[in-house]
Symmetry: C2
Subunit: 540 residues, 2 copies
C-alpha cells in the first residue's frame, strides 16, 4: 500500500523560490573579478536568475543540455547554478586548474554548446579553443564596460553576461522537473586516464543539502555568515550554494581572492563565522594572521576537507582563533559529503588533547550515507579503529556510474571510494591511504600517507613521497623519495633514526632516495603511479 502523501518533486529551483519568499533580505556578498564588492539579496538573486533563465532559452539552451562554466565563486556563478539547473538544463562546472588537454576533453565529452566564463579564464579559452568541437557560444561573466575583444573566430558569438540579463524580463515560471533528472555535472580527474563525469540529480542535490545543514554535519543556519573558499567549480563548492540558500544564511563569495589578506579582509568586514575550504588555503590564512598579528574573531567553525587537516592546524584554529575545526571527507562521486567530524556529546566530554586527536579523523558519516571497510576478499572488517580496509559507501547522493560510461563501478551495490580507512568503535572514520598507494607488505598494509606525514616532520625535508615497490620476500616494501630543502644535507640513516620512534619498526622504509623534485597532477597531487614505474626495480 502506498502512503497517501504528495508526490512533490525535490528540485533545485524550489530552494531559490523558498529563499525569495522567506529569506529575501538575506545577503549574498561577492568579490568581483573586475575588482570591488558586489552586494545583493536572495530576492535580487532570484529575480536575476529568472532573467538568466529567459536568456538561456534565447541562447537555445533546452532541457538537459549541458551548460559549461569556468568561473570563480561569485554572484554570477551563483545565478548560473539556479538558472541552468532550475530551467531543466545541466550545470557543468569545470575546474580551470586542469591541464588544457583535460579541459578540452571535458568540454568535448560533455558536448557543451554554451560556456560562461570569468575574465580570468579568457587566455585559457584561447589556448584550448582549437581543440573544441561542440562549443557554439561564449558568455563572459562581466558588464559591458569590462567586455574584452573576442580572441576566437568571429563565427563564435562572444557575449556579455550583464547585457544578456538586462535584455530579459524576470517573468519566468520554473518548470516542474522530475526529481531524478540530472541537475549538474562535475568531472573528477584521477591520476590515471581521462576525467570522468559525475551527474547529480535534483533529488540528490536537495537530500545532500538537507543532510549537510544539520548540526551533525556542517551546522548551517540562517544566523550564519558563510565563506566558502572551496570553489564552485569543484563538486558544487560542497553544495554550499544550495545549503546556504535553503536556510538563507549570509553568503560571502570570495571571487578569485583566496590569499590570506583578501580572506582576512572579508572575514572582518562581513563578520564571517563559518569558513569552508581545503588545508592549503587555511595554511596561507593562518600564516598571514600570524605575520599580521590578526585573530579571526568572528569565526566560530572551520570546515576542512579535500585533504587531511593536520593536528597543528586544528590546534592553531582553536587556540589562536577560538575556532572549532570540523574535519570532513567526501568525493566528487559523493556530492561530495560523506563524513563530518562535528562537535557532539561524545567529543564534548573528551579532554582537549584527546579531542584534537579525534578531530584529525575524518568523522562519522552523515545520516543518509552507509559506510563499511572491506578486506581484499570483500569481507567486512571490524570497526576497531585498527583494521585497514577499502572504504565502501552507499546512499542517495552517491554515484552509480559515470556519464557516458557503461561499466558500473559498484561492487554489490557499494561504491568503492578508492580509499583505505579505519573505523573506530564510535564510528569515526580515518583515511589511511589511497587503495592504490597503500603498501602491501607480507599480507599486512602500511599507510604511505602516515609514513610521509612522519617523515615530513624532519626539518631538512621539503617534500616527500612513500611508494610500495616490489620485493622478492614481502611482495612490497616502502621506499621513501625525499626532496631536501635548499642547502640542506642529511644522510639516509639520520632519517631512518628520526622515523624509528614514530612508526612501527616493520614500517621503516627499506631505502631512501633523494630526488630534486616530485611529479604532480594538475591539481597538485603527487603522481605516485609514475614514481612506482620509475622505481619498481629498486628493491628486487
Amino acid at each position: 500500500m502506498k502512503g497517501l502523501m504528495m508526490d512533490s518533486h525535490l528540485t533545485v529551483s524550489s530552494i531559490l523560490q523558498y529563499a525569495e519568499k522567506y529569506h529575501k533580505d538575506g545577503e549574498i556578498v561577492s568579490r568581483n573579478v573586475e575588482g570591488g564588492i558586489h552586494r545583493y539579496s536572495y530576492q535580487d538573486a532570484a529575480i536575476r536568475s529568472r532573467c538568466l533563465a529567459n536568456a538561456l532559452k534565447r541562447l537555445g539552451v533546452t532541457q538537459q543540455d549541458r551548460v559549461a562554466t569556468l568561473a570563480w565563486n561569485t554572484h554570477r556563478h551563483y545565478e548560473l547554478y539556479y538558472a541552468v539547473s532550475g530551467s531543466g538544463a545541466i550545470l557543468h562546472t569545470i575546474n580551470p586548474r586542469l591541464f588544457p588537454d583535460q579541459l578540452a576533453y571535458i568540454l568535448n565529452h560533455a558536448e557543451d554548446e554554451v560556456l560562461f566564463l570569468d575574465l580570468t579564464f579568457i587566455p585559457l579559452l584561447e589556448q584550448v579553443a582549437p581543440q573544441l568541437k561542440s562549443l557554439k557560444k561564449i558568455v563572459v561573466l562581466t558588464d559591458r564596460e569590462h567586455m574584452p575583444k573576442s580572441p576566437l573566430p568571429d563565427a563564435i558569438p562572444f557575449l556579455c553576461y550583464e547585457a544578456l540579463i538586462e535584455a530579459e524580463s524576470d517573468a519566468y515560471e520554473w518548470p516542474d522537473i522530475d526529481e531524478t533528472s540530472a541537475a549538474s555535472l562535475c568531472y573528477t580527474s584521477g591520476t590515471t586516464g581521462n576525467p570522468k563525469g559525475v551527474l547529480y540529480s535534483h533529488r540528490s542535490t536537495i537530500l545532500h543539502a538537507w543532510a549537510s545543514i544539520s548540526r551533525e554535519a556542517l551546522d548551517i543556519g540562517n544566523n550564519n555568515t558563510l565563506l566558502p573558499v572551496v570553489p564552485m567549480f569543484h563538486v558544487n563548492a560542497w553544495g554550499i550554494p544550495y545549503s546556504a540558500t535553503m536556510v538563507g544564511a549570509k553568503l560571502i563569495l570570495p571571487g578569485a581572492g583566496m590569499d590570506g589578506a583578501s580572506l582576512c579582509e572579508l572575514i572582518a568586514a562581513e563578520q564571517v563565522d563559518l569558513l569552508l575550504g581545503v588545508p592549503t588555503i587555511w595554511l596561507g590564512l593562518l600564516q598571514y594572521c600570524e605575520q599580521q598579528g590578526i585573530t579571526l574573531d568572528p569565526v566560530k567553525n572551520v570546515v576542512i576537507g579535500g585533504a587531511a587537516a593536520p593536528i597543528t592546524m586544528i590546534r592553531d584554529f582553536q587556540e589562536k582563533h577560538n575556532a572549532f575545526v570540523m574535519h570532513a571527507w567526501g568525493m566528487t562521486e559523493l556530492s561530495p559529503i560523506g563524513t563530518v567530524n562535528s562537535l557532539n556529546r561524545y567529543m564534548s566530554n573528551l579532554p582537549l588533547e584527546a579531542r584534537y586527536t579525534l578531530q584529525t579523523k575524518q568523522g562519522r558519516p552523515v545520516y543518509g550515507i552507509e559506510m563499511k571497510i572491506a578486506g581484499q576478499d570483500n569481507q567486512a572488517l571490524p570497526h576497531d579503529g585498527e583494521s585497514f580496509g577499502h572504504l565502501l559507501v552507499k546512499g542517495p547522493w552517491v554515484a552509480t556510474s559515470y556519464y557516458k560510461e557503461d561499466k558500473s563501478p559498484l561492487i554489490d551495490g557499494w561504491f568503492d571510494t578508492g580509499d583505505v580507512a579505519t573505523i573506530d568503535p564510535q564510528g569515526y572514520m580515518n583515511i589511511v591511504d589511497r587503495s592504490k598507494d597503500v603498501i602491501k607488505s607480507g599480507g599486512e598494509w602500511i599507510s604511505s600517507i602516515d609514513l610521509e606525514n612522519a617523515a615530513i616532520g624532519h626539518p631538512a625535508l621539503a617534500e616527500c613521497a612513500v611508494i610500495g615497490v616490489p620485493h622478492p620476500k614481502w611482495d612490497e616494501r616502502p621506499l621513501l623519495l625525499a626532496v631536501l630543502k635548499e642547502d640542506m644535507e642529511i644522510s639516509k640513516e639520520e632519517i631512518i633514526f628520526y622515523l624509528s620512534d614514530k612508526v612501527a619498526k616493520w614500517w621503516l622504509p627499506d631505502d631512501i632516495i633523494f630526488v630534486d623534485e616530485l611529479p604532480h597532477t594538475a591539481t597538485g597531487k603527487i603522481l605516485k603511479m609514475k614514481l612506482r614505474e620509475s622505481y619498481q626495480g629498486t628493491l628486487s
Copy 2:
C-alpha cells in the same frame, strides 16, 4: 536524462540502523507506566526492536498490515515505531482520549488485528471490546510480573510484551522497502463526521525528520536532551521518535506523567534542554514552577504547537526560565510540521517586546512546505500581514487523500488546511481562525478566536465562544456565549464596554448570551457547529 545517483530508499528502519552504529551510547530514558524509570541506549533499543520484529512475524503480522497501539510515550512504544514500520507493516497509533465509539470506529476501519496497549488503557479496551470486528490479538506493554488478567473472551490471546521479546532472537534483517509505501497511520478527528486516517509513507517520514532537525525548524542535535510531552499517539509525537534518533539526541519519554511535578523532576534529573508540547501542558508546568519556586534552568528551547501560545506564556518562559519559545503549527495531514517560529537573524535584531509579538505568530514554513492564503474565489491574497485567507499548503509530507476515501480533498494540488490565516511580508504566518468558524460580516471576515481571546481577559469569564449567526443585513454577525466564573455577575453592557478598546468597533458582538456550560469534543475543542445550530435564529 537521469542523474546517475543511487536509487536508495528512504526508510524508517534506516534511522535506527544508523543510530545503532553512530549513536549507540545515546540514551533513551522512559518513565514506566508501572512506575520507576527505564534507561537504555539506542543500541539496546535497536536490538529489542529487532526481537520485536521477529515477534510480529510470529504473531502473523505481514507486509502493510495495520498494527494498533494505545500507549503513552515510553521506550516500548518507541520500539513499536521501528519494529512495525521497519518490518514493512503500518504503525497505527490511536488517541486514547477519543470517545469509545470513535475508538471502535477507528480500530474497525483500519482493520487492526493486533493491538499493543499500556496497562492504563485496559478498562478502555474492555469498554470498546464488544464493538470490535477485526481485532484478534492483544499485547499488553508490560512485563510478566505486572501482567493483568484478560477482561476479554478467551478466544482473544492476551499476551505479555516482555515475554514476547524475550522469546525472540535479535537476528533480523530489516527489509528494503519502497520509500513510497505506507509506514504509519494516524486518524484525525474533526468536529464533524467520522475520524479520517492519514497514511504516512517512509519517504514523507524521513523528509519530515530531515526538515525538522534543522536550525530553522526544531533545531535538534546530538547534544540536545529532548522531552517530547506531545504524545506518541498523536501525529507521531511531531516526528520526534524519528528526528531524535536521526541525530542521536538524548530522548526523555514521560510515560503517563504529564503533570508539573513529574515533568519538573525529569527536567532536573535528566537536564532536559528542549521541551515539546501543547500550551495546556506548559500552563500546568509553569503554574507548578511558580508555586514551588522552581526555575527550569537546563531548558533552552520550548516548542509549542497544537494550539496558539499566548504571549504571557512566551514571556514567562523567557523571563522566568530563560527559555526561548518556538511557536509551531501543523496538522495530522502535515506529518505534522508546517511552520516553526525559530530564532533567526531577523528576529534576533528585534527589540524584546516586538520579538514577543512576533513569537505569537505561528512562524514561517520549513523548507519543503509551500504555503499560500486564498480568498473565497481561490485567488492568492497578498502577504501583507492583514489579509485573511484560507491557508493552503503543498509539500512532500502533506496528505493527498484519506485512507479508504476516494474523494481527494485537494484544490488544484493544494491541501486546504481549514484554517484562516494572515502571512506578513517576512513570510510569518498567523492563524486567525478555523475557516468554518470565521464570521463573514458584510464581505469582511471577523476572527472568532481573536474576539474570544479579547473577551476571556475579563476577570468574570470562565470560558467563552464566539460564533457567527445569520443576520438579515450583514450575512453573519458575531454572537458571544459566555460562561461566568462561580458567584460572578456581570451585564452584557459591561462586557461590550470591556471589549470596545480591544477590537474594531464593527467586530463587537451583536449580542451576548450567558450559558452554564459549552459543549466540547473528546479532545477538548469547543463544538461550535452545535452552538451555531442552537443559536442560528438569535439575530434574525
